[in-house]
């Protein structure tokens, strides 16, 4: 009898069965959501430019419970996206300052520290600085 290979079919929810896949999906979705957060920030800047009335209207909506909830979720995804991005940086290392590629953990750590420093710097400018 002729052979009948059984074609492989991917099961729905494949990405729920493996924590690595789940993280990957979160990272990818996080990219889109990061863009959305960017647009929200852009909108915030536009409202700021439109005058104090427009801006306070924006702030009212922004601080309403549903919006706060939504922003928390979105920022969580931004965080996942950023952290996983730094994790990946060690794998590709397009700019190599050492003879052999550094271990990705070192690259990850260095980038996290730089990110933290930049964030502290920005916070200082917003709250403390001139």
């Amino acid at each position: 009898m002729p052979p009948r290979p059984y074609p492989w079919k991917r099961r729905r929810g494949w990405w729920l069965r493996n924590p690595h896949y789940l993280l990957f999906q979160a990272r990818e979705v996080g990219g889109i959501l990061t863009a959305i957060v960017g647009l929200i920030l852009l909108y915030q800047v536009i409202q700021l430019q439109a005058g104090p009335d427009a801006y306070s209207a924006f702030l009212t909506i922004a601080f309403s419970p549903p919006m706060l909830g939504l922003m928390t979720v979105l920022l969580a995804f931004v965080l996942v996206h950023a952290v996983t991005w730094f994790m990946l940086l060690g794998k590709a290392q397009p700019i190599q300052l050492t003879a052999k590629p550094m271990s990705w953990r070192k690259v990850f750590a260095i980038n996290l520290i730089l990110w933290a420093l930049v964030s502290i710097g920005v916070l200082y400018l917003i709250f403390g600085g001139p």
């Binding site: 059984y6 074609p7 492989w8 690595h20 896949y21 990957f24 794998k91 590709a92 290392q93």
Partner: protein, 249 residues
């Protein structure tokens, strides 16, 4: 060594008997030094001779015995039963491939794709043998050694959701082997290989899930190879745009 019992839940595919795959349970005794492959052989020798699976070297170098064990792509000869007893051990064929029979899958697709990447040293004029070997320092060997360790076990393809979704993706091992040749200081085929690799079915199909490198039993790190290829391909494109007349290596 005390003997314990375990149930192997193995996926069968017997088109001569049933049109679809189904699970069959086997209860066997095992000891702590037995690997899943030993369990499968106990079943085949004494319980059910129709159980079909590939194996040969039993030491993790021939690449024959890939399977899904409790949902993860692993070599059956390298997975100890005591480490995966759940209390069951669920053995499936590697995903993302058509199933021929029981745990045997068809991976000819990989071999066709491997051929497309020209997995051999390319030089316009080979040196005559009488001139001896191409000199290569230990550091130059180290540059590609890791990527040459691929045993073609296909676990990376089984783990790659992109390969599962897209039939035309060249896949982790083929790309890692292509990278092995590009990084080999004796090779001059980088340009033509990158032309094939830097395509929608090549490196750009990869979205860096990274699972291929997690499951690789030989630490080849195909994910790293592919991302490095992306960097190489991008730099090649930039060079062509900015210095169209420059000759690359």
């Amino acid at each position: 060594m005390a003997a314990k019992q375990v149930v192997f839940r193995v996926q069968r595919y017997r088109p001569d008997k049933r049109p679809r795959p189904y699970y069959q349970d086997y209860r066997i005794r095992y000891t702590d030094d037995m690997v899943v492959l030993d369990g499968l052989n106990v079943i085949k020798d004494a319980v059910d001779p129709t159980l079909t699976f590939r194996w040969s070297c039993r030491m993790g170098i021939c690449g024959s015995c890939g399977a899904n064990i409790n949902g993860k792509p692993r070599l059956t000869c390298g997975t100890f039963i005591k480490d995966v007893v759940g209390p069951q051990v669920i053995v499936d064929p590697m995903p993302n491939f058509p199933i021929l029979k029981d745990l045997v899958v068809d991976f000819d697709d990989f071999l066709d794709k491997l051929e497309e990447t020209r997995p051999y040293l390319v030089r316009s004029k080979p040196k005559p043998l009488s001139d001896g070997e191409y000199r290569q320092t230990p550091a130059e060997v180290e540059a590609y050694r890791q990527y040459s360790m691929c045993i073609n076990c296909m676990l990376c393809y089984a783990a790659c959701p992109v390969y599962g979704a897209s039939g035309h993706f060249l896949g982790p091992a083929a790309l890692a082997l292509a990278y092995r040749y590009i990084r080999d200081s004796r090779d001059r085929g980088g340009e033509e290989r990158l032309a094939r690799l830097s395509t929608k079915s090549g490196i750009w199909e990869c979205t860096f899930v990274g699972e291929c490198s997690v499951v690789c039993p030989k630490a080849v790190d195909p994910a790293g190879a592919i991302q490095n290829l992306k960097v190489l391909a991008s730099m090649r494109t930039m060079r062509k745009l900015l210095m169209p007349k420059a000759v690359s290596r």
